[in-house]
């Protein structure tokens, strides 16, 4: 992989209405207050969890329901799934209707790097990988139910598992 000094172009991989819409959304008034918790310990002592907006579900679990979005295209399934740390590519399905799921279905680490997180533990760069990772459907223009119905459960379990830091991975 090539590394260079760069400023990321937010719009390089967007075109058409998606590009126009996202540029417009990025210019809307920003959130007034940014939540902030200082990292309380070195990363090498932290327990880290992953949260994916790719609507990843275990095959053994119920899938995210695409019909919710097909019935109301402004909304999507507001639920979330728990993905145990040991979840691997063959264990999951990707239910997001706005991405190409085939990359993750070849290698889940492309969007949820659980094995890479384990490697960082082995290398001593992080303290531990949390017992659980999480996924939800990142597309919705009505986020209220996601925030009200799913977020509390994720936060509760993150606290129960003593997670120090979360990597929220978009797709």
């Amino acid at each position: 992989m090539i590394q260079v000094a760069k400023t990321v172009d937010s719009y390089r991989f967007l075109d058409g209405i998606a590009k126009r819409g996202i540029k417009r959304w990025a210019g809307l008034p920003a959130e007034a207050q940014i939540p902030w918790t200082p990292l309380a310990k070195p990363l090498s002592k932290c327990t880290v969890s992953l949260v994916s907006s790719a609507a990843i579900a275990l095959k053994a679990d119920s899938p995210f329901d695409p019909e919710i979005e097909r019935r109301d295209p402004w909304f999507a399934d507001p639920s979330y799934r728990v993905l145990p740390r040991t979840t691997r590519t063959g264990d999951i399905r990707v239910c997001h209707l706005h991405i190409n799921p085939s990359f993750a279905e070849q290698d889940l680490n492309s969007i949820l790097p659980a094995e890479r997180l384990d490697e960082l533990v082995e290398l001593g760069e992080i303290g531990a990988a949390a017992p659980s990772n999480y996924s939800y459907m990142g597309y919705t223009l009505r986020p209220e139910r996601l925030l009200r119905e799913s977020l509390p459960g994720m936060v509760r379990q993150l606290r129960e598992e003593h997670v120090d830091a979360v990597v929220l991975v978009p797709v």
């Binding site: 719009y11 991989f13 959304w25 959130e31 706005h98 190409n100 969007i111």
Partner: protein, 102 residues
Amino acid sequence: MIPDLTSSAGAPRIAAIEHPFSVTLGRPGDAAGQLAVLRAALRALEAMTEPGGVAHLPFEWTSEEKLALFGPPVAPPIAQYLVRHPWALPKFLNRTPPESDG
């Protein structure tokens, strides 16, 4: 991936990566590349001391595949809806969806 949008949403720390959709950490099977991205993101987390910081990760996506390869095989419902109802485009652009029926 879209640090401009993530910043406007008030994320406390952002590690920006210039990768196509669907392959945030990198290509399937590129374990070394994925590890490098994750490591850089976590090191950025540790280094940031002010809310709203953005670290632009130094990884270059060099291939020339068409954008469509990284998009869904079928246009998503909102795209199909806007084709059939172009008058709804302002609501989409302003992020002001119509009231829900249910």
